[in-house]
Amino acid sequence: MYGKGLRALSIATVAAFAVAFGLVFFYAPLDAEQGFLQKIFYLHVPLAIIALCGFVIGGLLAIQHLRTRDSRWDMRSYVAIHMSLIFAVATLITGSIWAKGSWGHWWAWDEPTLVSFLIVFLLYATYQPLRFAIEDPERQSRYASVFAITAGAFVPMNFIAVRLSTAYLHPRVLGSTSNLPGSMGLTFVVCLIAMALLYATLYKYELTAKHTRSQVRALRRKLIGETGMAPRPRSAAPTLHPTSTPATSTAAGASR
């Protein structure tokens, strides 16, 4: 039930990346100042944008969780933030490579976007340790949602604060679309779409995997009975309550 559309999504992602890479290497012009290295921008910036959007979406999904108390929203929020964290690491790495290539050092404090990003990353890096440190699953979900909403609100505020505080040196490639020559703009947009599709695909994969695992556990519980089950080890991932998975809800009372 959760795997629907996964194949189509994966194919679309691969196709988008193929087109994107084609454009990056053969269509987009070579940057006058930075040369070939500049092309990493097509990877770095979409990663950053998608990661940040993912964090904020995680916060929005968490709001839904607190409103409905349905653990499925918490699972969605968890996966969104989890994925964004991975994308954020990739952003920092690609950003570092770009910085080293352009300015000669691996890190540059002068530019607010990278710095803000680091702070956001440090904050979200505490998400899983926080979840892991709470044993009661309901409380874990609730506290994680509170955190996700607070951190989600923090993302824009942090960027504003840091930008205000430092001299603006980050390469101005996205100031306004008129800055980007048409060919670069097109390439960028395609890359952004490809990255968004990648995120969506990976998100769906992880969500499906978690739901499937939960269903398997529920089925095993029905077959073996409560006493035969090994207790679920402590985990940072949300527990899906069995009756919230549609496939098992009707059969829940059958084995009593």
Binding site: D136, E226, H241
Partner: protein, 225 residues
């Protein structure tokens, strides 16, 4: 109007069902005694009735207010005495009770009355960490009845109390206090004697539900087998 109306109550902790399909009714001024082995769900049930835990399924009505939506209406009218005294060790008995009085919008005179009723007045100005466990339990009893609740939720209330103390608190939380009571107990003899209705829990389910005069002590012993 019944003091408690519970129908099909369920509560889970992650994948574990702590309570499932629990139903009971309790009339006003009656005493319900809940028996069951450790882990059966007695404390969970009590905490749900105290509005401290949300029910996950089923309907719960405490003193006419349905939980969790109308929990605020029930709150000031019930008193909980659990395993923890819910008192600050660094503060004195008097300061603790005054704090609770302010939270429950109860007058200062009640504090003195309550301290007197549990015979702690002479040591009311000492920090609780200086008092023995039995004395702290007495202050806890005072805390639980300070706001004259209609419903008392007691989790093994007589533990930590010597016979003299039990006699002392009897008019406050015992059978003659005139309030509706739900007691979690491990003492089949004593518990049965106080009960109007009996509920036996095992693994979160109701294994026994009857009026006290219809229950044999052996049935209660069965629960623990």
């Amino acid at each position: 109007m019944p003091a408690l109306e519970v129908e099909g109550l369920a509560r889970h902790f992650g994948e574990r069902e702590a309570l499932s399909g629990v139903s009971l009714t309790l009339a006003e001024r009656q005493t319900l005694v809940v028996f069951g082995p450790n882990g059966a769900g007695k404390s969970t049930l009590l905490r749900i009735l105290a509005t401290l835990l949300r029910p996950h399924a089923g309907s719960v009505k405490v003193l006419g207010s349905s939980l969790p939506d109308e929990a605020w209406a029930a709150r000031g009218r019930l008193g909980l005495l659990g395993h923890e005294p819910l008192l600050y060790r660094e503060l004195t008995a008097q300061e603790n009770l005054r704090f609770h009085a302010r939270l429950h919008d109860v007058g200062e005179e009640r504090v003195a009355e309550a301290l007197e009723a549990v015979a702690i007045s002479t040591r009311a100005a000492e920090p609780l960490r200086n008092l023995s466990r039995g004395m702290v339990q007495r202050v806890a009893v005072a805390r639980a009845v300070l706001h004259e609740p209609e419903l008392l939720l007691l989790d093994e209330p007589y533990s930590n109390l010597d016979p003299a103390a039990i006699e002392l608190v009897e008019p406050l939380i015992g059978p003659s206090c005139g309030r509706t009571r739900v007691i979690c107990s491990h003492d089949p003899g004593g518990g049965l004697a106080e009960a109007d209705a009996v509920l036996g829990l095992r693994n979160g389910r109701v294994a026994l539900a009857a009026n006290a005069n219809e229950v044999q002590p052996s049935q209660i012993a069965e629960l623990y087998r």
